[in-house]
């Protein structure tokens, strides 16, 4: 499903973000990327979304070499991925409903499909009542749930969650982790980047630990050890 092949990423002049990283993630897996800030977790996810290019090595999503995809065809790759960010990255001028609907609108879904699916997904994330609220009118936890709804509405093959609980209190953190597990149970591959020790330990899922751009541990049932 996802494959990193001897990937190096060096930011000019000589900051090594990823150092000879290789690993594979199978379909329907739930994988935690663990590491301190600056370990290379976010860079890894950015390479997967073609937001950045590796200095050397290859990144595959399915059978596609991500960096070989032309700029014109990048939207097609990104539509296979649902992305969740620590800072939510919601569109501030759109309501919760419109933010979620946007992911379907870009793929050309019909208005009827959008009306049906968005209502369902907002119900799943518990925000049906706040569909007409703008992001500024929502709490941090609610914003993150809108971001999750947007990430899963178009049924992507993979969900990449970059520190989704970084700005949330423990109650909301647990809520978001539960949601991600539920999404994974439906068959979507989930890659969760986090430095939340409790979350990683309670999940008991595969954990890849990064330190200074290198993979130092890759365990089937991972523990948060740095």
């Amino acid at each position: 499903m996802i494959k990193f092949e001897k990937v190096n990423k060096i930011y000019p002049p000589n900051t090594v973000a990823l150092d000879n990283v290789s690993f594979e993630i199978g379909p329907k897996e739930f994988v935690c990327l663990v590491g301190k800030s600056g370990a290379g977790k976010t860079t890894l996810l950015k390479l997967l979304m073609a937001e950045e290019n590796p200095s050397s090595g290859k990144v595959f999503l399915g059978s596609q070499d991500v960096q070989a995809i032309s700029h014109k065809h990048l939207p097609e790759l990104r539509r296979k991925i649902g992305a969740i960010f620590q800072d939510y990255r919601l569109l501030p001028s759109k309501t919760a409903y419109e933010n979620v609907a946007y992911a379907m609108e870009v793929i050309g879904a019909s208005d009827q499909e959008i009306a049906r699916d968005v209502a369902d997904v907002l119900d799943i994330v518990g925000l049906k009542e706040k569909a007409c609220n703008f992001p500024a009118q929502l709490s941090g936890g609610e914003r993150q749930r809108v971001a999750i709804a947007r990430a899963l509405i178009h049924r992507p093959e993979v969900i990449l969650a970059d520190e989704p609980t970084g700005n949330l209190d423990p109650y909301n953190t647990l809520d978001i982790i539960r949601l991600l597990l539920k999404i994974n149970e439906f068959g979507t591959t989930v890659v969760l980047s986090t430095h939340n020790k409790e979350a990683v330990n309670s999940l008991a899922k595969r954990a890849i630990t990064l330190s200074e751009g290198k993979i130092i541990r890759d365990e089937k049932i991972g523990r948060f050890i740095l």
Partner: protein, 302 residues
Amino acid sequence: MITSFKRVFRFGWHGLTRDGGMMIANVFIMTMAVSVVTSLFLFGNISKFIISNVQEKVDVSVYFKYDATESDIMQAKKSIAELPEVEEITYVSKDQALEKFTAVHKDNPVLMESLAEVGINPFLASLGIRAAQASQYEAVVNYLENSNLNYLFEKIDYYQRKPVIDRIYALNASLNKVGLAISLIMILVAALVAFNAVRLSIYNSREEIKIQKLVGASNWFVRGPFLVQGAVCGFFAALISLLLFVLLTLGFNSQAGVLFPDLHLFSFFMSNFWMIFLVQLLTGVILGTFSSLVAVRRYLRV
């Protein structure tokens, strides 16, 4: 395809109505740009109108010898009228010249007494010749001086008027050149100001553009709403500018009439209403969409 268009238009409209302050700022700056272009368009046309009006009042008069008969003069008139440069030719007989003089100077007893003292009509019959353009008078005069009718002419009143004619000709030519240069500079400045306003508002949306791209939107899906916003701002700027110029031309109608009696500013504006609105609309919409198109480009590289 139609669904995508509908969505792009809806996003564009929402972007404007939900960020009213930015919309007002953009429309205001674009109104200024459209108004600059409208003023240049108006000044260009008004100056042409004034110059052609002045040109209409300039002519060359050919005075006939005292003993030239009316049939000689009519033959000369026919021959001169055949010249392609000649637009209009008017005959003033000796009696008409006297009548004109008397009408103008009837309140001047010295002149009237002098005229009575002479005893006869001292005025000469003349032809007033008007060329299509000021530059053509020289050719008309050359023809007259070298024609076989030359023996009939007492005087060709061109060299006295030549400086005036030349000045009008030079003024017309330099107005065209200077007007074009000023117009180009002003249009460039106005376009740059409007472009920067649009660029600034798109700069504020750069994070949103990035998010849209990461969610999987194509370049056109992201760019489209900004083009719609640019076009809508341009449309409103054209409407406001139109209203502004209706009021300005109405307000300055009488003042302009004092300076140029033949110029009726408001009627001139209204007679060119649709042309002016078209110029404003095209300026506004093209400026808005083009600015958006260029400004949004650099943020699409995600």
